[in-house]
Amino acid sequence: MNHMWKFSVRRMLIIIPQLLLLSLLVFLMAQAMPGDALTGQINPDLDPQEMQEQREELGLNDPWHIKYADWITSAVRGDLGQSFQFKMPASELIWNRMVNSFWLGVATLIITYLLAIPLGITSGRFNDSLLDSSITGYTYIGFATPIFIFALVMLWIFGYQLGWFPTSGSVAPGSDPGTFEYIVSKINHLLLPAISLGLITTVNTVQYLRSEIIDTKQKDFIITARAKGASESRVYNRHIFRNSLLPIAAFFGFEITGLIGGTVFVERIFGYPGMGDLFIQSVLLRDYTVVTSVVLLFGLASILGALISDIILSLVDPRIRIK
């Protein structure tokens, strides 16, 4: 257990340089944007002359390290600057969106794994069968299909043609937060985007799980298990699947990073008010404070995803747990 601690602490210490690097990159990006992306107090559409005057006025021409330090300290306190377009704190603008995106992410992950685990297992166990070929065929289609086109098709069929799902928003207008109807409406709104995204992102995991299983099947210890008299189903359940699911846990972190990319398109297409939608909207509106903040939060999510992966892995793999 002691070692487990050491591992976790060491792993957490690694995120310090990661965070530093992320913040520096975002800071540099913000610096390169017109106006003042960190505070959002200057209209980016002003001409350079006027902009310069305003900067002087607001005291925004400090040396970069002071500005960086100010930005970081306020960001840690939850102050991400002002949205120039909406004239409100960026953090307020982001908060609701973040909650929406969070639930969309969770729903997508659930769908991803709900699909990937049975498909990957079937495909790996019966590899080179007709069933496997069909599943592999699906994954190839998934790899080749751009998410935004697929999402549009889904929206058109299930949203507009069949009318099974709402076509935009995250909840029916007028329902009261906390009521049962509200929750049902929320779920109803995120289902179609989550399914669309899940159907595409899952193909990675299916392929990965399939090859893990095919690999594990040929290991010597599987022969040992058979030689013990274990039935085929026990060999699969106790030995092959357990050992193949482990690397999938490690894959979880990358899954999160992948999701972020996917949500940007999907939220936009489904008009789902999440972070991805906000990101595109802010880019189009040249609302640079918000763009910067969203990028920062996306980066944070990726770093945390990788951290969670490693910790899960260390919990389930004794070879890491004990070292």
Partner: protein, 310 residues
């Protein structure tokens, strides 16, 4: 002056640990090894896996840095040799244990064997090919082999390719690290005979690393027995096999399966006796730290790690 002289060689590897991965300890892979060998002879280095044989060999050819000690080859100090003394280095070559993984599978035999030539000698393509063909003939492989890849050869043939690479620069000393451990008896015989033949033909000196005492006995003139990075005994083949003194050596000798089933009972009995002695007298042979003592001569050729008599 001995041909190769190793004096108090130490190779320690740092162990990283703690939260910041600082060096918290050292693995004493080789911990004070001394021996010398004569030109044209075969010197055996024996011990169980992890006892430091490979590390000793690698330190001699400069693949592992010596932490302390001195290695003298033919009068030159070659400890932790710099690039400048390449001439000396090319006289010492190594053959590796596993003929299946020690050859790059993506390279043709021509490129594998020519690699050392390219590093040390500027030859034209033609000359290079001629040399490689000569080498192949020497190790008994056909000239078509030149364009083949390692997987197209059997284990014994691959080990010959490894040998051809090692002798490409006309070395004087070859360190063979368990060259036959991965091979079947029949193929093993082929490689061993062949190593003896080229030793005679080219006047080579061998350091032969192994754990199969049957093979060691067949090949070597002198033998050093290693245990946990130190020597426990050194002597001629006869000293070691007919008159083992250290309990660890006795265990090794007792562990060799006897090829004659008629001796089975005696063999088992002998092994049990040695095991009993090992359990009873362990403390007489190893210090408090579980390591061997320094070597003391008991005859002109025979040295044993025994404690100072009180």
């Amino acid at each position: 002056m001995a041909f190769l002289e190793v004096e108090d060689l130490k190779v320690h590897f740092p162990v990283k640990g703690g939260i910041f991965g600082r060096t918290v300890d050292h693995i004493r892979a080789v911990d004070g090894v001394s021996f010398s060998l004569e030109k044209g002879k075969t010197y055996g280095l024996v011990g169980e896996s992890g006892s430091g044989k490979t590390t000793t060999g690698r330190a001699i050819i400069g693949l592992n840095r010596a932490t302390a000690g001195k290695i003298t080859y033919n009068g030159h100090d070659i400890t932790n040799l710099k690039k400048a003394d390449l001439d000396v280095r090319k006289e010492i070559q190594m053959i590796f244990q596993d003929p299946y993984s020690s050859l790059n599978p993506k390279k043709r035999v021509l490129d594998i064997i020519a690699e050392p030539l390219r590093n040390y000698e500027k030859l034209s393509k033609q000359e290079e090919k001629k040399r490689v063909l000569e080498l192949l003939e020497l190790v008994g492989l056909s000239s078509e082999s030149i364009t083949k890849y390692p997987h197209q050869f059997s284990g014994g043939q691959r080990q010959r390719i490894g040998v051809a690479r090692a002798i490409a620069l006309k070395p004087k000393l070859i360190i063979a690290d368990e060259p036959v451990s991965a091979l079947d008896v029949s193929v093993q015989a082929q490689v061993l005979n062949f190593m003896e033949d080229i030793q005679e033909a080219l006047g080579l000196t061998y350091i032969f690393i192994g754990h199969d005492l049957g093979v060691i006995r067949h090949m070597c003139d002198d033998i050093g027995i290693m245990y946990k990075g130190r020597y426990v005994e050194e002597g001629t083949v006869d000293d070691i096999f007919d008159n083992p003194q250290h309990i660890y050596t006795k265990r090794l000798v007792a562990a060799i399966p006897d090829i004659n089933p008629e001796n089975r009972r005696e063999q088992i009995y002998y092994r049990q006796e040695v095991q009993k002695e090992y359990e009873q007298s362990y403390d007489d042979y190893f210090g408090d730290d579980g390591l061997a003592y320094g070597l003391k001569p008991i005859s002109e050729t025979h040295l044993v790690a025994l404690p100072e008599k009180g």
